[in-house]
């Protein structure tokens, strides 16, 4: 008997006067001891399944359908108290943000103890220590007396995994459990989860947006798009021989760290939001599908079975034909003059009290050069110092040692001349478009902000704004909108456009595509490539995602704890890593 | 879930029952609880002149001379006194059966200590100002002494019954020092101080060895309740047996409550307008017009329930300075005529300034406003200014007072020197009237030794001052008192409320 079986599950959402199904006719079956992956971009509805199981849907959302069975009992018709009793015992959840999932004012021990007492364990202390040992945490007994903020993200997640498996549940729902963690930590967490899952023979519902990661972890994968399953089959098959155009496009939109270099497939626009769904008859993917034809737009797609592999498209045979374009060509012409030169650059932060000084060397002894028109990627995990490096370049921090030269001028000192040089030469694009754009300014005024500072008249600025928006591939009327009326991807484009307004020679981009959906990321990377061809600026791209750096940048610098451990041409470094840390990083990237 | 342990519950229950079972107030019939509006500044009775504290001091200490309820000067610690014909000395004979609360005998040495030695040794005492003319006190025997003055001092006997004149023990005070005395005071009075909490409560117990009539009540508790609303609530709830200083309307209302009696007792306090002799009031027409225009009966009715007696002289009925039959009429027509003679009318009013306190005595501010309204009708436009009581003296010293000030003046003795003399003496800080003609007369009157001549002189001065518009008396003030009906006490003409005169 399957642990979890969804039959025709529907989650209707009420948006104003309309009722739109966020999940539509979902059919799933999860056998005991198996791992099922739910893969989809944001808004696909993958989280809704987990919420439906827990019956913790946001206000305005309900759940209905023929049945949602857990171990034979229908969760939909069960009385609330019974359902609540299942939570934590038979059904456990692993959250997305481990650091905020534990009560900050209570010790690990008190929360673990509370949980264990609830599931009926007599000697909770011994049980807790054993559980923490099973996830390979050092000093489990001491850990029980610590507070969550004293642990790292990875350690917290392991604690949560231990808590989830402590009651030996039949089903564990893991909603994006590694998204907030560094890639090496991610690998470790996945390993731990797999261990425990196999040990207790637990069924796991693994929700993620990363198809390759799902293929590594799961036995089966279900791909969701706009509230419905478009493809469902064994993990390897879905990864290597996808039968739905969306799956294929998704795979092609994400850059890869291994294999030959290739271009990225850019899906137009984005996944329709809930409100827009109501207006789409027929196949929901049709507006963006490369294989779409008239019949797709009129009638809803049917599910076609092919062994254990189901796909919601009538034309699976054409899918292998979809391909991305060629790899990005290196820019023509020789590399330009040296634009940025860093020599023994260092930044040490002094914290603590007069009695107990602590010095944190965020960046130490960094040497590199960047030529005009060159794209250099800086990779590293959190704490590697890459953001500090960016800030040093931009003059937001003052170096404590070494020097920086921009266009030949020494800008390590903070005087007027240095500042002027910096303003003329470099611009920065920040990670979070939400907070980087002034919510009270219209888009047109945001992108021409630099011109405003230079004192150019309004007419000139308006014209320039239209130009920039066209450059970014956005319709001109978006200029009169406010940032909160744009999508995440559009906001990031405005962010980039603003930096490019004065056509700087150097663009410093700090994690500008992390946190975006794969398809949106692909669009932005394509945009950067195009702009590069047009404006010929140099780019220092900071990212934790090695695949993105491989796609876009011809040179790469690997940083670990403030030090550059390896640098060189991207292809060389990634094909033949010399430093053990680089090797570790590359090994940790999910291959599928 | 919080489990209420049985022990906690039991403790809570017992505490609750303890709280509920306590009786409200022990109103036994040999004690009384009085709600008083202000505290003593300290237990050294010579130190500060606070009129409200006098009644409290009188329970613990004795004055050399006392006043009867009708305010006649009577012997107290002093058996007999003789003023020399030239007024330069006062021969005193003391009782010999007076003991302090610690058992020691009171002698003339204590008298000398109180009124002479303390002052001479530089202690900061307000009574230093009462006996300026005192040169020495000659001790003849433990029961005889003579006060000697440097100029005639006919009113000294009156002052021996006035503010701050209480006899304190010499030996005890020298032994424990000023601080020790303030902490544990002893006097010769009908009650002993048993407990004192500053701004809280005063507990007195009967002095069983008192030389005079023994008080009927064994215990007197005085609760210091400064807020008038709280006093009203306290008497109404029965937690106190008597209180003073409640608003007039409340006194009337509480009188209707079963078991309570509200009284409006006229006291030796004069409410009047002090005036300048210059600026807009240089013109006698304006002055007299202002006086004629005030309807004193209406003021009494509005603010004192009609119980305040309208006055035409700076003296209250029953005191030596009062002249029966002398009346200054309420005559608005006359006022208009006088103003017209000086060229003023309601259309063209004369502008003057008026100062008043607010809260110094009941309804002061409201009365001032009423007077301003009365004046407006006849052609006097007065600009009202509120000042603090203490500011009055400061302004007067700096000659900065406006033309007139609404003022209340206490004189527990009823002696005319302390009324007209103090109110009109340009050398003292009470009078803004600095005209030398009247001023000289007043100053001279202070030195007259012969009693009959002295009294006659003050009566004449009083009438002259009013007639020329140098003084505008308004009303005799009343004391508002609310008590339980069963509580009897002696009513003093000056408002003293004394525990030793009370009984159920």
């Amino acid at each position: 008997m399957s642990v979890l079986r969804a039959e025709g599950l529907i989650v209707p959402a009420r948006i104003g006067p309309l009722t739109v199904p966020a999940l539509r006719d979902l059919n799933l079956a999860l056998a005991p001891g198996k791992v099922l992956g739910l893969v989809g971009e944001s808004g696909a509805g993958k989280s809704m399944v987990g919420r439906a199981i827990a019956q913790m849907l946001p206000p305005g959302f309900t759940v209905s359908g023929r049945g949602l069975h857990f171990a034979g009992q229908d969760l939909l018709t069960m009385p609330a108290t019974e359902r609540r009793a299942l939570l934590g015992r038979q059904i456990a959840f692993i959250p997305q943000e481990p650091l905020s999932a534990l009560n900050p004012v209570r010790t690990i021990g008190s929360q673990f103890g509370e949980h264990l007492r609830r599931v009926g364990v007599a000697d909770w202390r011994a049980a807790a220590v054993a559980a923490l040992q099973s996830v390979h945490l050092p000093d489990p007994a001491g850990l029980l007396d610590r507070y969550p903020h004293q642990l790292s993200g990875g350690m917290c997640q392991r604690v949560l995994i231990a808590m989830a498996f402590a009651s030996k549940p039949a089903l564990v729902v893991a909603d994006e459990p590694t998204t907030a963690l560094d890639v090496t930590i991610q690998a470790r967490i996945i390993r731990v989860m797999r261990e425990l899952q196999q040990l207790h023979d637990t069924a796991v519902l693994f929700i993620t947006h990363d198809l390759r990661l799902a293929a590594e972890v799961c036995d089966e994968i279900a791909v969701l798009y706009a509230g419905g399953v478009v493809e469902h089959g064994p993990a390897e098959v879905v990864l290597n021989e996808p039968l739905h155009p969306y799956t294929k496009c998704l795979l092609l939109s994400a850059p890869e760290i291994h294999g030959p270099r290739r271009g990225l497939y850019t899906l137009p626009e984005q996944m329709p939001g809930l409100r827009a769904l109501a207006d789409i008859p027929g196949c929901r993917f049709a507006p963006r599908c490369p294989l779409a034809r008239e019949s797709c737009r009129n009638a809803p797609a049917l599910l076609v079975l092919k062994d254990a592999h189901r796909v919601a498209c009538p034309y699976p045979g054409e899918v292998p034909g979809i391909s991305a374009g060629p790899a990005l060509a290196a820019p023509e012409g020789q590399a330009g003059a040296v634009l940025v030169e860093a020599r023994d650059l260092g930044k040490t932060f002094r914290t603590g009290t007069p009695f107990r000084r602590r010095a944190v060397a965020a960046v130490q002894g960094v040497n590199f050069t960047l030529h005009e028109g060159e794209f250099l990627g800086v990779v590293g995990e959190s704490g590697s110092g890459k953001s500090t490096l960016a800030r040093l370049l931009m003059g937001l921090e003052r170096p404590t040692s070494g020097e920086i030269r921009l266009a030949g001028r020494d800008v390590s000192r903070w005087d007027g001349a240095a500042r002027r040089t910096r303003l003329q030469t470099a611009q920065m694009v920040f990670q979070d478009p939400q907070s980087a754009l002034n919510p009270r300014r219209r888009v047109a005024s945001i992108v021409t902000q630099a011109l405003e500072a230079a004192g150019l008249p309004a007419a000139t600025r308006e014209a320039k704004a239209a130009e920039i928006l066209a450059d970014l591939g956005m319709p001109a009327e978006l200029g009169s909108r406010f940032p909160n009326q744009l999508s995440g991807g559009q906001r990031q484009r405005v962010n980039i456009g603003r930096a490019l307004c004065l056509v700087p020679k150097l663009l410093v981009a700090d994690e500008i595509v992390s946190g975006l959906d794969v398809s949106v990321q692909a669009q932005l990377l394509a945009l950067l490539a195009r702009l590069r061809a047009e404006h010929r600026f140099a780019l220092l791209l900071i990212s934790h995602d090695l695949a993105v750096v491989r796609y876009l940048c011809e040179r790469v610098m690997v940083m670990q704890r403030g030090v550059v451990v390896e640098q060189g041409r991207t292809e060389d470094v990634f094909a033949n890593p010399q430093h053990p840390y680089t090797k570790e990083l590359l090994a940790a990237v999910p291959k599928g | 879930m919080v489990k209420l342990s049985r022990r906690v519950f039991a403790q809570g229950a017992s505490l609750a029952s303890l709280l509920a079972s306590l009786p409200a107030v022990a109103a036994g019939k040999d004690s009384v609880t009085i709600g008083w509006p202000s505290d003593v500044t300290g237990w050294d009775p010579n130190q500060r002149f606070t009129p409200d504290a006098q009644a409290l001091y009188k329970m613990v200490f004795d004055q050399p001379l006392d006043q009867s309820p009708s305010l006649k000067l009577i012997p107290n610690l002093i058996k007999a006194w003789t003023l020399a014909p030239d007024g330069m000395s006062l021969a005193l004979e003391f009782r010999d059966d007076v003991r302090f609360h610690d058992g020691s005998k009171m002698t003339s040495a204590d008298f000398r200590w109180t009124f002479f030695e303390r002052v001479k040794s530089g202690q900061k005492l307000d009574i230093a100002n009462s006996f300026r003319k005192l040169k020495d006190i000659e001790i003849i025997s433990p029961t005889k002494a003579v006060m000697r003055f440097d100029s005639p001092a006919p009113t000294v006997p009156v002052w021996l019954a006035f503010l701050g004149s209480f006899v304190v023990p010499k030996d005890y005070m020298e032994k424990v020092g000023l601080e020790g005395f303030a902490a544990k005071p002893i006097g010769t009075g009908p009650y002993k101080l048993v407990e004192y909490q500053m701004n809280g409560r005063i507990v007195l117990e009967r002095n069983e060895d008192y030389w005079g009539p023994k008080p009927k009540l064994k215990r007197v508790v005085i609760e210091i309740i400064k807020d008038p609303s709280a006093r009203v609530a306290a008497i109404q709830s029965g937690s106190i047996d008597l209180t003073v200083g409640v608003p007039v309307r409340e006194a009337e209302r509480l009188g209707k409550v079963a078991g309570l009696k509200g009284e409006l007792n006229p006291i030796q306090r004069v409410i009047l307008l002090q005036v300048r002799n210059d600026q807009a009031f240089a013109d006698p027409n304006v002055r007299l017009a202002a006086h004629h225009a005030i309807d004193k009966a209406a003021l009494s009715k509005a603010f004192y329930g009609g119980a305040a007696v309208p006055l035409s002289l700076p003296a209250t009925p029953g005191t030596p300075g009062f002249v029966d039959g002398f009346k200054f009429a309420y005559d608005p027509a006359m006022a208009t005529k006088l103003l017209a003679a000086s060229g003023f009318s309601p259309a063209k009013p004369v502008k003057i300034g008026m100062a008043t306190t607010n809260g110094q005595f009941p309804n002061d501010y409201d009365m001032a406003r009423a007077i301003v309204a009365m004046w407006k009708k006849v052609g006097i436009e007065a600009e009202l200014e509120v000042i603090e009581y203490a500011k009055y003296f400061e302004l007067n010293r700096g000659n900065k007072l406006p033309e007139t000030t609404l003022y209340s003046f206490d004189n527990a003795t009823g002696d005319p020197e302390i009324y007209a003399g103090y109110l009109l003496n340009p050398k003292l800080p009470f009078s803004p009237w600095k005209d030398p003609v009247l001023g000289e007369k007043v100053i001279a009157q202070f030195n007259v030794a012969d009693e009959a001549k002295r009294i006659a002189g003050w009566r004449a001065i009083g009438q002259e001052a009013v007639t020329m518009g140098a003084c505008m008396p308004l009303l005799q003030s009343v004391q508002t008192l609310v008590r339980k009906t069963d509580l009897a006490y002696s009513k003093y003409g000056n408002g003293w409320v004394l525990g030793q005169t009370m009984n159920w």
Partner: protein, 333 residues
């Protein structure tokens, strides 16, 4: 953590210095004449000038301040102009009473505030919410002295259930050990005095407490709403923890922190607000002393009492900060 506390303590000195200086200057710039007020009205100009000189009021301001500062640092708070007694003794007599009242009021405010906050939170988006909100607003609009009067007339006069003057029943003698009546009653082993003192404390503490409870209620409610958005609450729910336990064992511990900080700040206002309540309830505390002192322009008392207020408020806010530090492990670095 110890260090931030030490820094706090180090700041107390300069704060008091500045406060005392401002106070000093302000009082001497006021148009009151303490020398004149210290003499009876019959005093002559010469005598008043002599008094002024004796009080040192004719010296330059800076010199006066220096003298006063020197004396205060030695523990000599001067002599009351009106009562001619050492101010230090007056403070010793009255400060414990006011502290006792303020602490009792703070307990009332705390219990009412936290209970009310939990109730408001439980009622959110439910039917009783409007009524609860109205009640809170009403409670906030009525100032403490009005509550004081209302309680007198309700409980003291109408129901005659509780006393409203002084600290003890008239028949009882006050045990003097520490000045804190409840403590002293226990120390001398007199439960009847304890009960009487408690009864007398009820109305003034309630009047003060009820006036200061509503902001606590509101802040707690808002904090709880904020905390309930947090991930760990959702995660606890997903573990199947019951709602009651979530509220009390998880959310409250977090939400109480800003509430405590607020209560620390409020204590300052409460301590000052006790002044009016003391006068109305004839409660012999520092507030009562201060009111008379202001009326009589008794500068030494005003200065000493104002400084005492300052010290007490600083002490309480520091204590509350320390408590928050203790309860919030994230702040202990």
């Amino acid at each position: 953590m110890v260090l931030s506390f030490a820094r706090r303590l180090a700041a107390v000195g300069p704060i008091l210095l500045v406060v005392s200086l401002l106070l000093f200057v302000a009082l001497r710039l006021l148009p009151v004449d303490p020398a004149a007020m210290s003499m009876p009205p019959t005093a002559t100009k010469v005598e008043i000038e002599a008094a002024r000189s004796a009080m040192g009021l004719d010296r330059p301001l800076v010199e006066q301040y220096a003298i006063w500062l020197g004396q205060t640092l030695h523990g000599d708070f001067g002599t009351s102009i009106h009562m001619r007694r050492p101010v230090g003794g007056l403070l010793l007599e009255t400060l414990p009473a006011t502290i006792e009242l303020s602490v009792a009021a703070m307990i009332v405010a705390g219990l009412l505030g936290i209970g009310g906050g939990l109730a408001l939170f439980a009622l959110r988006n439910r039917r009783g919410e409007a009524v609860a909100e109205l009640t809170t607003t009403l409670m906030m609009s009525i100032p403490e002295f009005l509550w004081a009067l209302l309680f007198i007339f309700l409980f003291g006069v109408l129901l005659s259930a509780l006393p409203f003057t002084g600290r003890l029943d008239p028949g009882m003698t006050r045990p003097v050990v520490s000045g804190f009546l409840l403590l002293d009653a226990l120390l001398v082993g007199r439960p009847d005095i304890y009960a009487s003192a408690l009864r007398h404390l009820l109305l003034p503490a309630a009047a003060l407490g009820i006036a200061f409870a509503p902001p606590v209620m509101r802040v707690l409610r808002t904090s709880l709403v904020d905390v309930y958005q947090e991930d760990y609450i959702r995660q606890a729910r997903l573990r199947g923890v019951g709602e009651a336990r979530i509220l009390l064992a998880h959310a409250l511990k977090n939400a109480i922190l800003p509430t405590l900080t607020l209560m620390g700040v409020q204590f300052g206002f409460l301590f000052g607000g006790s002044l009016l309540v003391e006068v109305i309830y004839a409660y012999p505390g520092m507030g009562n002393l201060m009111v008379d002192a202001v009326r009589n322009a008794d500068l030494p008392i005003i200065q000493a009492v104002a400084l005492t207020y300052c010290v007490v408020v600083l002490a309480i806010t520091s204590a509350v900060d320390a408590l928050v530090l203790l309860l919030n492990p994230r702040l202990r670095a």
